[in-house]
């Protein structure tokens, strides 16, 4: 079975460490916040200028002056700080954020990522994604392994305009956990019940399959 959105978030959450400052992108990455292990302290960075992002507010707590990068109303956690966009991107660009999780359209064996622009469709912009991928050392890309039409999103070379070049080392799809090393994807884990053959058939880019590829457990 392919991983559900929640299982993708749960698997990413296993990469968290106590004391991590983490930036979560819009969509599935946001769900990771729901699976922070018990007893672990993690602080969420929102690139519009908030470190220590909390849950959504109650109706009574709603404050138009307190939003996240998805423009959603949020709250702050204890120990939070708020700052300007320049300060926020100094943290990001300066490599101070421990983990960044974001979605993508395509990733390739060189660690290139395309996530913001599909030629011919309306281009809304890259927001903070280019800064995030350029600034972070530890990035996890979450996406489906193949498109709805069955086309692989794990390629030898991205076909869409890039968000960043040579910056991705870890990819979690609905089928597999992969690392990128020396111009190839390395299959590290597979989703429960998903065969290595299925992953091989849906991976267009060069893929190295170790002798043993454990199944993820949930």
């Amino acid at each position: 079975m392919a991983l559900s959105r929640e299982q993708i978030a749960m698997r990413v959450a296993r990469e968290l460490q106590d004391g991590y400052y983490v930036n979560l992108g819009i969509g599935i990455p946001t769900l990771v916040a729901n699976y922070v292990p018990e007893g672990m302290e993690v602080m969420l960075q929102s690139e519009n200028g908030l470190l220590g992002m909390g849950a959504f507010p109650t109706e009574a707590e709603i404050d138009a002056d307190l939003i996240n990068a998805g423009k959603q109303t949020v709250t702050t956690t204890k120990g939070a700080s708020i700052f300007s966009s320049a300060e926020s991107f100094a943290m990001i660009r300066g490599g101070h954020v421990d983990l960044t999780v974001l979605g993508a359209f395509e990733v390739d064996v060189q660690g290139n990522i395309a996530s913001w622009m599909i030629p011919g469709k309306l281009i809304k912009g890259m927001g903070g994604a280019m800064d995030l991928v350029a600034g972070a050392d530890n990035i996890i890309v979450t996406m489906t392994h193949a498109s709805k039409h069955g086309e692989s999103k794990l390629l030898d070379r991205c076909t869409l305009p890039l968000t960043g070049a040579g910056c991705i080392k870890k990819v979690l799809t609905d089928l597999a956990w992969l690392e990128i090393e020396d111009g190839a994807f390395i299959l590290r884990e597979r989703a429960p019940g998903v065969s290595v053959d299925e992953i091989v058939s849906k991976t267009a880019g060069k893929l190295i399959v170790p002798d043993h590829v454990p199944e993820m457990e949930f």
């Binding site: 700052f83 300007s84 309306l122």
Partner: protein, 233 residues
Amino acid sequence: MAGFDKVVNSYEEAMAGLESGMTVIAGGFGLCGIPENLIAQIKQMQVKDLTIVSNNCGVDGFGLGILLEDQQIRKMVSSYVGENALFEKQLLDGELEVELTPQGTLAEKMRAGGAGIPAFYTATGFGTPVAEGKEVREFNGRSYILEESITGDFAIVKGWKADRYGNVIYRHTAQNFNPMAATAGKITVVEVEEIVEPGELDPTQIHTPGIYVDRLIVGSFEKRIEQRTVRKA
């Protein structure tokens, strides 16, 4: 106005001197912390061919989106746009130009512009369409692109509280691009929710020192929410 007193008493006075063809830098992220009354004044003035530098372009009928209604904007410099149907239409019709700029690069362009730094190198955008036509230079084995900073004829800023000398404090994430915008305008206009006397704000807490501020006005704000997300109490 006398001495360091920056207070003006009307929005006409606040935006006096703005002309067609000028560049305006605006604070705000989405609809949060936007100078909504100063934007409304620009609409009132009907100046055209503006270049607007702002992370976003509001929504249909609110924020910078209202300047699209009479085609007052010629060019937007933003990181994310298209939350409004009118923007999309004018872009596709070729009436509007957009220069998409990574969010952190946009913030730094304003910061550097206000700080007298004409350009800077950043890894952001290297190897992407953003790098096209830009100088690339290697430092310590990594490639960076040269980005030019931005200044504006006007900067329009939304603060929370200010004293009459133009020392400004922002509230929560309504801060966002406002402090950088405030430094980067030839004429910087700040609108706030409350103006107090000099000495009433703690100097330690000031975000934007009054030296950057030319005009200050108190207004009332709708503060529209773009994505109202709640949890059960």
